[in-house]
Structures are given as structure tokens and as C-alpha cells.
Symmetry: C2
Subunit: 544 residues, 2 copies
């Protein structure tokens, strides 16, 4: 296997990709090198930025250098002894309509220039095309992908199998399913550039997921043209492992300054909002006033610093299990990114399947968008499918969440539990105390210390959708269990009567007696009153 997965979070992974020129760690950004117009030389990329891999275009290399590149080898030609990936000229088809090279030739050429990672000459679907045209690009790309395995001669090059289909999700799925059956070491999602240029990140989510869900999950996925750091975490979270970026250089040419949350025109910057070596040694004014090519180089360097920094931030977030938090922060850079985060909910169950169970860090809950988190999906499934209440439990007691966690050790609950114990003695085992809480819904007391049921922080007050979700979970739990009675303590100010309404509906339907006790605040005093309330009603029950 050329790809080893070391750590996971969501669909992201920290991986190690082995090539004949060495190993690289993923997720990784490969700067695009165009030898003709290159603001930062490959050697400098290696030395200043610790850059271990780059991408160039075999079609352009062939056009400009022809056999020279084959004789010298691409590494010597570029002056870079790290990992070199070559694209095939497919992007040039998209831009210029066609290229003057046969698919077989570009396979042969990539082998002869001794590239490390090669891409077949696929046929990009493009953006403003019909479903029929898109189908043809998928079919032709697949035909070329199949042919590769007959014509290629070397075994030490990693070949990339591109997935096409454009914005047609059905075609992406089909393309991924078929190309994934061929023995490619890497896959790539083709032609997302127009989608990204138009900030259609929600569509990008569907596109990446269609590819991801239909490709072998253990192969790395490359996303072409994803060059802006503000969307790296989105792509990584959805399982993209490698990226290429020409943007750092193109933006620099246009005096555009990247940040991890957006792009500035240099003219509008009064201060440089960055601490990279470029920005700590120049002012915005200095950059504006220097000769163009000097500025272009410095801006390209700045842009790369920002890109690489964001990847380090993402990798650190992955090993800590904080990638969702990181993604959510970045998605608040632009509404188009938040739309994408909202879209992820659609794939929550798939993402949950591949996301690790135990993490290093607690979980932050900001809003109902976080209900798509694997931890929450997983808890819901556990409660609804695998969980059974303790054997002696006959009566469900529902208490609201407390700030202190675990819930059963909070001052409020401790007081309540003590009183129940005092009042009912051994018989208190018939009471099963569960906490209803955001974001997990229902948390039976005997498991409330299991990760992450006590390891989370919630930004209160809760939003409507979160309250609704908790209310649904409580009802779903009553539905699937067989308690004889339910006692509910509702903190009406916090829960707006929604928990009571939801319990009432399900209890009526199941014919279970529900006793609701409303309080303004959930504290030790109301804990006492609620214990009295239960005791009184249970007493009545006895004499009935």
C-alpha cells in the first residue's frame, strides 16, 4: 500500500503517501509550478517553506521543454528533489477546448520525465454543459483510465484516476464507482474550479461526497484547484487528502492577499493582518510601493505561508479531534461556507461511520448545525438501538441538564438523588433518572460519564432547533422503552415548554401516566420540591 492512514477525524485523515521520491504527509498542498512564470523557485519552496511536494503540468513541460525534460528528468529540470506530481493537460482542454497531444503520448511522456505521481489525460466535464455531454466526458475518461493499465510500462509511478461528472451528482457517483474498480493508487475529483470560483461550496459538498462514497475509502483523494485556505478544512473534513494550488501565485500577480478567512486587495489593507516573515518585515504601504515583480514574489510567499499554516492548523485539529470545531470557525468566514456546513448534515450518518469514537478533547456545541456531529449521531443511534434501561427501572424520571457535569454529580441532582434514596430506600431502584440535555438528547444517569456525555460545552441559551431536537429524542426514548410512569421536571424558561409537550404527546399515545412539574429554575430548592412531588404521587398510587 502506498497510503497509510495514521489519524482520523470526521472523514479527514493524517496519512503517509509513499512515492519513489520519498514519503509525504497528508493532507498536503502541492504548489503549482509553472516553470515559465514562477514567482518562487522550487528550490526556495523546499528550503524556505519545507515544501516536500509540488505539482507541475506535463503538457506544458512537454510544450516548452520537449525531450530535454525526458533526458534530464523532471526533478533536475525543476531543481527539486522532493515529490513531483504532474497533471496531464486536462485543465488546458477545459480552458482552450483541446490539446494537441494524444492520451497515450502524455502517459508515455510522464513516465519518461520520471514523474512521481501522474494523471491520465482525462476529459474534464466542465460547468455549463448538458447532462448528455457530461455523460460523454465520464465515459471517455473511463475509457482512457482503463486503457492506461494496458499501455503504462513503469510500476513505480503512482497513477491518479480522475472522477468526472461536473455538477451532476449521479454522474460523479457512477464515475467514482467505475474508476474506483481500477487499480489506481490515487483518485481525484475533476473540474471543481468553477464551483469554487462561484462560491458554490454547498454543491462542492455534494460533489466531493458523491466521489468519496463511491471510491475505495483507503485511497487518497485529490481535489484539483482548491487553492484558498478558507476552504481547506471543508475539503479535508470530507476526506480530501491532497490539493494543488496555483492560486497563491495567481492571486499574487493580481495583488490579492490571502487570509485564512478571505481575500483582500492589497490596496484596501491599511495593516497586514498576518505575522509571517513577509508581513512582519514589511508594511502594507511598502508592499504597495515596491516594483511589481518584487511585490508579486512577496505576496506569493505570504499567500503560501498562509496556506501552509492553515494545513498545520487542520492537522493539529485532526489529531486532537477538533476538526469539526475548526471547520465551523472557518465556515463563519463566509455565508457560502456556512451553507456548505449546513449541507454536511445530509451526510452525517456516513461521516459518523468513519469518524473515530474516542477523541482527545471535549466537544464544543455552538448551534443546531452541530447536531450533524458524529458524536451526536452516534449517541442517538446507541440510545435508540443498543441501549436498555436497568432491569429494575419502572419509572422514568427526567431532569433537565445542569452546568456541572457529569449530571448526576451536579449539586442539583445530588440533592435530588439523595432525597429519593431517603424517601424510598431500596425501592428507589424503580426510578430511572435520565437527564435531557443539549446536544445529546437523553442521557441515562448510569452512563453520563462516558465520553463525550460529560465532556462538552454548550453555548446557551439554546436555539429553537436544538430544543426541538432534545424534545424529539426524549419522545423517541419514551417510545422505545416500557416505563410505567414518567416524571418530568421542566425548567420552562430554558426549554420553553417543548419537552413537556413532546412527552405529553407520546405518553398519551402509549397510555403512560405523565407527571410534569414546572420550575423557573433548576436548583437544590426545586430538587427538593420535585422529590416531594414524586413522593406524594407515589404515595397516592399506593393507596389507590
Amino acid at each position: 500500500m502506498c497510503f497509510e492512514i495514521l489519524e482520523r477525524d470526521l472523514l479527514a485523515r493524517i496519512g503517509r503517501l509513499k512515492t519513489k521520491s520519498g514519503k509525504v504527509e497528508t493532507p498536503i498542498l502541492l504548489p503549482v509550478i509553472n516553470p515559465a512564470v514562477q514567482p518562487i523557485q522550487p528550490k526556495e519552496l523546499a528550503e524556505k517553506f519545507g515544501c516536500k511536494a509540488l505539482i507541475t503540468n506535463a503538457y506544458i513541460i512537454r510544450k516548452h521543454y520537449g525531450e530535454k525534460a525526458a533526458e534530464e528528468g523532471i526533478h533536475r529540470l525543476l531543481g527539486f528533489d522532493g515529490v513531483i506530481m504532474t497533471d496531464s493537460g486536462a485543465y488546458q482542454i477545459l480552458v482552450y477546448g483541446d490539446v494537441e497531444v494524444a492520451p497515450e503520448e502524455i502517459v508515455d511522456y510522464q513516465e519518461r520525465i520520471n514523474t512521481d505521481i501522474a494523471v491520465i489525460l482525462d476529459v474534464p466535464t466542465g460547468w455549463k454543459v448538458s447532462h448528455k455531454h457530461a455523460e460523454e466526458t465520464v465515459r471517455e475518461t473511463l475509457a482512457r483510465a482503463q486503457k492506461l493499465w494496458k499501455i503504462k510500462r513503469r510500476d513505480d509511478i503512482l497513477w491518479v484516476g480522475p472522477v468526472q461528472g461536473g455538477k451532476f451528482i449521479d454522474l460523479i457517483s457512477e464515475s467514482a464507482r467505475k474508476v474506483g474498480k481500477l487499480p489506481f493508487q490515487i483518485h481525484a475529483l475533476g473540474s471543481p474550479t468553477p464551483v469554487m470560483e462561484q462560491y458554490l461550496f454547498d454543491l462542492l459538498v455534494d460533489m466531493i461526497m458523491a466521489a468519496k462514497m463511491n471510491l475505495p475509502i483507503d485511497r487518497p483523494l485529490h481535489l484539483f484547484g482548491a487553492g484558498h485556505p478558507f476552504m481547506f478544512s471543508l475539503a479535508v473534513a470530507l476526506g480530501c487528502d491532497t490539493f494543488d494550488s496555483a492560486a497563491y501565485a495567481i492571486y499574487a500577480r493580481e495583488s490579492r492577499y490571502m487570509t485564512e478567512y478571505g481575500t483582500f486587495r492589497l490596496e484596501e489593507l491599511e495593516w497586514l493582518p498576518c505575522s509571517c516573515p513577509v508581513c512582519t518585515s514589511h508594511s502594507a504601504k511598502e508592499l504597495r510601493e515596491m516594483p511589481k515583480n518584487e511585490r508579486e514574489k512577496l505576496l506569493a510567499m505570504h499567500n503560501l505561508y498562509v496556506c501552509f499554516e492553515e494545513l498545520r492548523k487542520i492537522k493539529q485539529a485532526i489529531i486532537e479531534g477538533r476538526l469539526w470545531e475548526h471547520l465551523e470557525m472557518r465556515c463563519h468566514s463566509h455565508p457560502a461556507l456556512l451553507k456548505a456546513l449546513k449541507k454536511i448534515g445530509k451526510y452525517a450518518e456516513y461521516i459518523e461511520k468513519y469518524s473515530p469514537t474516542i477523541k482527545r478533547s471535549g466537544l464544543f456545541y455552538f448551534s443546531h448545525l452541530d447536531l450533524a456531529r458524529p458524536e451526536i449521531i452516534r449517541h442517538k443511534r446507541k440510545i435508540m438501538k443498543d441501549y436498555s434501561p436497568p432491569e429494575k427501572a419502572k419509572i422514568l424520571v427526567l431532569l433537565p441538564q445542569t452546568d456541572e457535569k457529569p449530571f448526576h454529580k451536579s449539586r442539583e441532582q445530588k440533592r435530588f438523588l439523595k432525597l429519593i434514596k431517603e424517601k424510598f430506600g431500596e425501592k428507589s431502584e424503580i426510578f430511572h433518572v435520565c437527564t435531557y440535555a443539549a446536544p445529546f438528547g437523553i442521557v441515562p444517569n448510569e452512563i453520563d460519564e462516558v465520553y463525550p456525555l460529560s465532556q462538552h460545552e454548550v453555548a446557551s441559551p439554546l436555539d429553537e432547533e436544538t430544543i426541538e431536537y432534545v424534545a424529539e429524542q426524549v419522545a423517541g426514548y419514551i417510545e422505545k422503552t416500557n416505563y410505567e410512569r414518567v416524571f418530568l421536571l421542566e425548567n420552562i424558561r430554558e426549554w420553553k415548554g417543548k419537552i413537556a409537550a413532546s412527552c405529553k404527546a407520546i405518553c398519551r399515545r402509549k397510555g403512560i401516566k405523565l407527571f410534569t412539574f414546572n420550575v423557573e429554575k433548576w436548583n437544590r430548592a426545586t430538587a427538593e420540591r420535585f422529590a416531594d412531588f414524586i413522593s406524594e404521587i407515589m404515595g397516592k398510587g399506593k393507596t389507590e
Copy 2:
């Protein structure tokens, strides 16, 4: 005036503070210098970080250097010719219970060491204290503040009038009101450190606002001990102009690594998520393995780079009118910060009053939390109080928002407006077309190009609270106007029937005829059907 305000956004301002040692631009962070244990010398702060102002402690200086500091002057003693602020030892009272110096002595000493900005020896309220004790600290602080103006001899030093009261909002208000009547050049909010240490940022919002709303708004406000970059934007947005931070050094001593979104222990960092000169020339491992004092200095430098970078980001956001966006992004670093953002809603009307009307950039709408934005509050007030429909308008036509803006130039509306014009000719003036839209509620067509009604991006799908808000605005508008009829086109999938329900209730109450037309999608085809619907009903009306 020693403080000139150049730019504003929310309650934030870019200002210029004039002192006898030169001008500094605010918001500004003053690194705390403790000459006894100082990882970065003041000279280096000036040279490497462009640091123009710092703060030290007159009480500690007096203890260690006594008359030497008075003879040399504080600038020479520290080797720093920028602006020096001296704190008075009040923090030491808080920590050690008392200090061995009289309030008058520390006034005199600060004058004699030639400080630029001085603080009276106030009495910090502290955290775990009774209301009664807090009252006493407020009273005594005020007495000392009054006394200053009798005993001080120099006129070229800026004096800081501290506001006390701790967590007691009523006392902060009172303290601010009273101390604000004295001729202090600067004010400061005292003892928020425990509040920040406990991440009680929502309480901090109340505390800052109580001070802000009761102090003269044109004086700068200092926030003591706000040393973490992840909350700078919160404090700045609420009108704090100057900060001091010992945290950069204290954290460094404890091997804690700051980022703009939180703190890491150096041991848990696999990669350095930063591009500052320290982090681009060292790896996490190298930092961990070097001698402690070397590491401490480098971490202090890194921490300062991050702090200063965040302030540049904030200043850039202020001049672009993007501070709310910046704040919202940062508040997604931790639920405790998002709680604070939720709290800001309480002060939305006050903030609106002082926030500028025209901004450079469009507005991003992420969720209902953004309903507290000045632009939205302002539009609501305008519509409800100042706006009147065109004179000939008799019939209200409500159309849903479109992606294209301005709304009346969208393909959907253009089609609709053309049809109405065709069908009704001159008489079409009786129809007043308004768009109901998130986040502004109701947008009359004739003003839909006024900033920011066309200059915003919304992260759809909308949340419940936003839909509710729009529904309320629509009802409120019908309530305050005198249309004879209302035609509503509702895109039910997007608006969940809430707009119709809200219109129905108010129209019934006012006895206005409401005609609702539900569509699955709002496009040119449904525009035609809706125009037909209106025309048919109007025809019937004629023959009635």
C-alpha cells in the same frame, strides 16, 4: 482633547491617543513589563514588534528601584522611549490583600518617575465579595479619584479613572457615572481578571456595557488584564480601546502557546499552527527540547506576535465595517464566547446608536444572532418609525426574497412587475411591491438599493428564529400601514408557512383582506401565475 476618534464600527473605534511621549493608535495592547522577570526587553519590543506603548507597575518599580526610578525617569530605567503607562498596585491589593503605600504616595511617585499614563491607587472590588463590600470599594475608589484632582501637580500626565463594582452591574453603572464626572482623560474597568479566567464572557459583556453606557463616550476605556487574543474583538467591539497583557509572558513561562482561537500546551502540539518568525524557524519539537529560558523567550515572542496580529486584524475589520463578522468568527472559538455574542443582543439598540451608517463592505448573515447587528436594528426602526409607503399605494404585494439583488431587478420580480404593468397599466401604481427577506424583514421595492439592503449575503437555509423575525416584521409593517388589501406570495418550502400565518393574524385583526398564493418555488413561472391570480381577484373586485 488627548483622544481623537478616526474610525468607528459597532462601539469600536480607531483612535489616536496623545501623550507627552508621543501618539499611539488605538485599539492598542500594552505588554506588561515586569523589570524583574522580563523575557523580552522593552528595547526589543520596540525594535522587533514596533511596540509603541507598554505598561509597568509603579508599585513594583517603587519597591525595587525606589528613588533611582525618580532620578532616571521611567523611560530611561526601562530603556524605552515610547509611551509608558503605570499601574498603581491596585492589582497587588487584590492578590495580596494590601499594599504598603498610601494612595497619595503612589500619585506623587508616578509623577516623579515621569510616567505618561497613570492610574490612581483604586480599590479593586474582587470576585467573591458581598454587594456591601463591593459598594465600599466603589465608594473608596471614588473618594481617591476625587482626591487626585487636589493633590496632583503635573498637567502633562494622562490620568486613568478606574470603574469598580466587580460583578455587580448596578455598582459598575454607579461607579462609572460618578467617576466619569471627574476630568479623567482615560477610564478603566477594574478587576475583570477572575471573570475572564472563568470564561464568564457573557458577564464581561454586561460589565463592560455598564461601564461604557455610563462613562463619557469620547474618553478611551482601558480593560485591565484582557490578555488573550481570542477575546480582543469582543472587548474592542464593546468599546474598549486599550488593553494590557501579562498573559503573553505568563503563558510562555508555563509553556502555553496562544492562538487567535485558544491556547495549546506546547506538549500537545505536533505542528506549530502559526507563521510568525518564531514558528517558521522552529518546530514544536525543537521548542520543547531547548533550555527552558530560551523556550520561554521564544514562546513569549510568539504569543506577542499573535496578539499584535489579532489587533491588526481587528483594526482592518473596523475600517472596513467588518468587525461584527470578525467578532462572530472569533466567538466560534469557544461556546463561552458565543454566549457573550448572544448577550450582546441585549445592547443592540445602544450599539446601533453609535455605529456608523455607511460601510465599505457588504454584510454577511449567518444566523439569528446577527439580528443584533446595527444595520438590522436601524432598518427596523426606519421602517417602523420613519417610513411611509408611496402615496398612491393601496394594495400591498409581498414577494419572497430572491438570490439576485436588488430584489426588484431579479429575474423573478422583473417578470412579475412587467406583467402587473401590462395588466393594469397606469393603475398599477396602486400596488406596492415589497420583498420580505432575511435578515431585514420587509424591504419596500423603491428603496431596495439603499445600503445594505442589496449588499448582503445570507447563509441559507434560514434558521427558525430568523424566519420568525421576518414574519414579525411583515406583521408589524401591515400593522402600522393602511393598505386596503394584501397579496402574499409564499414560498412555503423556504418560509414554512410562517409568513402566511403571521399575515393572516394581523389582517384578520385589522379587517384587511388577505390573499395568499403558495408556491413550491419562486421563479418566473410562478411569477406569471401569481400575476394572473392578482388580476383575477382584482377583476372580481371590480364586478362586485
